[in-house]
Subunit: 255 residues, 2 copies
DNA sequence: TTCCTGTAATGGTACTACCATAGTCGCCGC
DNA sequence: GCGGCGACTATGGTAGTACCATTACAGGAA
């Protein structure tokens, strides 16, 4: 009983935070490795000298932080999870939903990230990955040429291409930020796929971008990425332009 | 009793998630505005038809998401909070701590963000902000010229300058990502301030950067930003060159 | 062997009681 | 009349118990 970590007794008034932090520290400190099972709630209750409610709330925090995963039944319990970008992405997503971010600000942010990723992808991506990206973009064109458009599949394909691109940067931070953006910002992006005109331009632009990445033409690839966001700006302006005209920006894309 | 929002009765087995999601939806839907007080735990317990423990765990989730703030005592309760970047930043910070990110990847990520912010700051920042940034950088130089160096204050000043710069982009997303980076990655950055040689170079570089931003010289400013990260890379290499332990290649991302 | 059932461990929920805290309000003394 | 102090009360925080639901596992039956 007393041979194990022996957590400190929690002090009243902030017992939940106390317990939560101690367990988190133990996980971070390597006392529990991914896949390990924490003691059962009833045992932690004894080790910390608290009620079971405190333990449950503390575990709820850790679960919310995506540090542990809880299973029911015999041999169940709280298991330490592998670190994942999903939770951090969800947090940004929540933030984006709460604050009403100006679409233009989101576009600026995303465009800068996208261009950096593109540069890195050209430099770091393997030939295989580049070919794969190009093939997928060609499949994308076939997808929107079908009779009955599957909008869900189209959105998923767009996300897939972006994720593919982000992974080619070989930098998990960009993969994370791309996921976060897709979670919190996707609705704007899909505007491009709603109308036939923009849909064709966008998909063709994906192909152009992928091709230049494959060919190692950084500047051309960046140019196409810029064109993507020019399209997006114009598309969104058109949709909003029905009611508001005065603040339409002068990005002017002539095709 | 039935005149109010009347949450749906929670279904057993996942009552906590049920309650949490319903309350979150109510907040998102504008049923509760920032500053509003949610019903007391004992009242929610009745409205949802659950035990109080379920309500407490659900509120714990919302608190963890930074959606509500809980006060004790009479007239206490759960109050809806204003959306803030702090929580999302903390999530990224946690992610960075869990995954041992390669230092070079962090530098690449941060450098790209920093350069984008710099460009936006030149374009969007007001003259007043630019002057303020420049003055603060000059004060920074005075700070490191003193007899007894206050390392905490130096670190704080560096953070302050970065935050100032991020705000000049007029884009909350960059402010957020800068906060997140500073939370999860700051101790690493401070390597530049540990040794006198790099400290002087870095601070002088801050002044150069701020001056060029003030003068609207985008390319020069970007050049100085690039120099900052050249310094950081060299500094890190030197430090690892001495006491590299081949397994301690992980930067010290601890808190 | 295979399948089924009982059993035990564990999380999920309900309920109660009590403590700690912090506003509120009214009583008391001046 | 005024000010301060103390009781009151609503509310979150914690402890403890009991019971239900789920799941893995062992041991027996076919």
């Amino acid at each position: 009983m007393s041979d194990k970590p022996v957590f400190k007794q929690a002090q009243p008034g902030r017992a939940v935070e106390d317990v939560s932090l101690q367990i988190e520290a133990a996980i971070m400190g390597g006392m529990f490795l991914p896949g390990d099972k924490l003691p059962s709630e009833r045992e932690l209750q004894v080790q910390f000298g608290t009620g079971r409610g405190v333990i449950r709330e503390a575990l709820r925090i850790l679960k919310q932080k995506d540090l542990v995963e809880v299973k029911k039944g015999s041999r169940g319990g709280a298991f330490v999870k592998e670190a994942d970008v999903a939770n951090a992405s969800a947090s940004l997503s929540l933030f984006l939903k709460q604050k009403k971010i100006d679409p233009e600000q989101l576009i600026v942010f995303r465009e800068s990230i996208d261009k950096t990723i593109t540069m890195l992808a050209v430099a770091q991506g393997s030939a295989e990955e580049k070919n794969r990206l190009y093939e997928k973009s060609l499949e994308f064109k076939a997808l929107i040429s079908e009779e009955n458009l599957n909008m869900d599949l189209i959105g998923e394909t767009d996300r897939m291409l972006n994720t593919l691109l982000a992974k080619m940067s070989k930098n998990p931070l960009f993969v994370w930020i791309m996921q976060a953006i897709q979670l919190g910002f996707s609705s704007y992006d899909y505007a491009l796929y709603e109308e036939d005109h923009y849909r064709r331009l966008t998909v063709n632009n994906w192909i152009d971008t992928a091709r230049e990445i494959k060919n190692g033409e950084i500047m051309k690839a960046l140019s196409y990425v810029g064109y993507h966001y020019s399209l997006l700006r114009k598309c969104i302006n058109e949709k909003n332009g029905e009611s508001i005209d005065k603040e339409t920006r002068c990005l002017t894309i002539e095709e």
